[in-house]
């Protein structure tokens, strides 16, 4: 019997899952790049990022050159949680095909 409760509820939301996936592909992402890639509103993206940051999954780096820039990266905890989430998803899909 599958235990759907194993799925991390913080990640198991389409918007946050998309953010986590993109963050897993590169060392860091600028806010504007995430926004344009995911086609989310500023408010929506900020809310999801704040949730992930509060959960300890995402690290925030703020730099100022000619303009302020905020970059996001997966933390070790976030990367581990994402890998666990993927593993559970694969188990669910495999179980469904049996």
């Amino acid at each position: 019997m599958l235990d759907f409760d194993k799925l991390d509820k913080t990640i198991h939301e389409k918007g946050r899952l998309s953010i986590m996936t993109l963050l897993a592909t590169r060392p860091s992402w600028a806010f504007q790049d995430l926004k344009s890639e995911l086609k989310m509103s500023d408010g929506n993206l900020v809310t999801h990022l704040r949730t992930l940051h509060t959960g300890g999954y995402v690290a925030v780096t703020k730099t100022v050159f000619d303009r302020p820039q905020t970059s996001y990266a997966l933390t070790e905890k976030g990367r581990g949680a994402f890998q666990d989430y993927l593993r559970v998803l694969e188990e669910i899909v495999k179980a469904g095909k049996r």
Partner: protein
């Protein structure tokens, strides 16, 4: 009892469908998120400057009238070597700044994608070295370079930024367009073909196209709201 089983089965199916949908989303975003710029904007600028400079040197130095195909090749091989060295330095510095491995999986994928077209270009270049020196042969080899370069860049399109794909398409179009113009241009292009044509073609493609790419792809910093 039956209704409960139906509800449990329905919940499982929904969760499985959702899991599959999420895995598809993850795969699509992973593919889109992985971008590798095989040619940086500064490299393109250096390549463009060197190409225009080499064309000018060949035209101004009387090379265009000399019967020296190896001189023409040597000049452009030097441009290629300098541009490739610049690209290597920029890639190494960029990787160090981002604290990544220089020879990353993305770089390997880019090299594998580009290699066939570049090997083909190298083969044609060796062939050209044995041909008699005339303007048509010089133009032919430069058109082959442009076509192969364009094909090489287009081969990276599934993980390259759009600007690099556009650059590849521009080279391919310029090369094929020039070939077709000379074949079906009613003799106009053939009549005007001389020792300068290949150099003009190189300046217009490897020079101008790289300048345009450098301007479009130059890194910009943008402001954004903070969460």
């Amino acid at each position: 009892m039956r209704r409960e089983c139906f509800v449990v089965q329905s919940t499982c199916m929904n969760e499985q469908e959702r899991a599959e949908e999420h895995l598809r989303t993850i795969r699509r975003l992973m593919e889109r998120g992985t971008i590798y710029r095989a040619i940086s904007a500064p490299t393109a600028l250096v390549g463009g400057l060197l190409s225009v400079g080499a064309s000018e040197m060949w035209l101004g130095g009387g090379g265009a009238t000399s019967e020296n195909p190896r001189g023409f090749l040597a000049l452009w091989m030097a441009v290629l070597a300098l541009t490739a060295a610049t690209n290597a330095v920029i890639l190494v510095l960029g990787a160090r700044e981002r604290k990544e491995a220089v020879i990353s999986a993305s770089m390997k994928a880019a090299l594998i994608a580009i290699a066939p077209a570049f090997i083909a270009a190298g083969g044609f270049t060796l062939l050209f070295a044995g041909w008699p020196c005339d303007p048509l042969n010089e133009l032919t080899v430069t058109v082959v370079w442009a076509v192969c370069y364009g094909l090489g860049l287009l081969a990276t399109s599934h993980f390259a930024p759009r600007s690099l794909t556009m650059l590849g398409a521009a080279f391919l179009a310029a090369g094929l367009g020039t070939m077709l113009a000379f074949q079906y241009g009613g003799g106009f292009f053939m009549r005007n073909l001389d020792g300068r044509t290949a150099s003009f073609f190189m300046a217009g493609t490897f020079g101008l196209f790289h300048f345009i790419y450098a301007v479009c792809a130059w890194p910009r910093r943008r402001g954004e709201p903070e969460p």
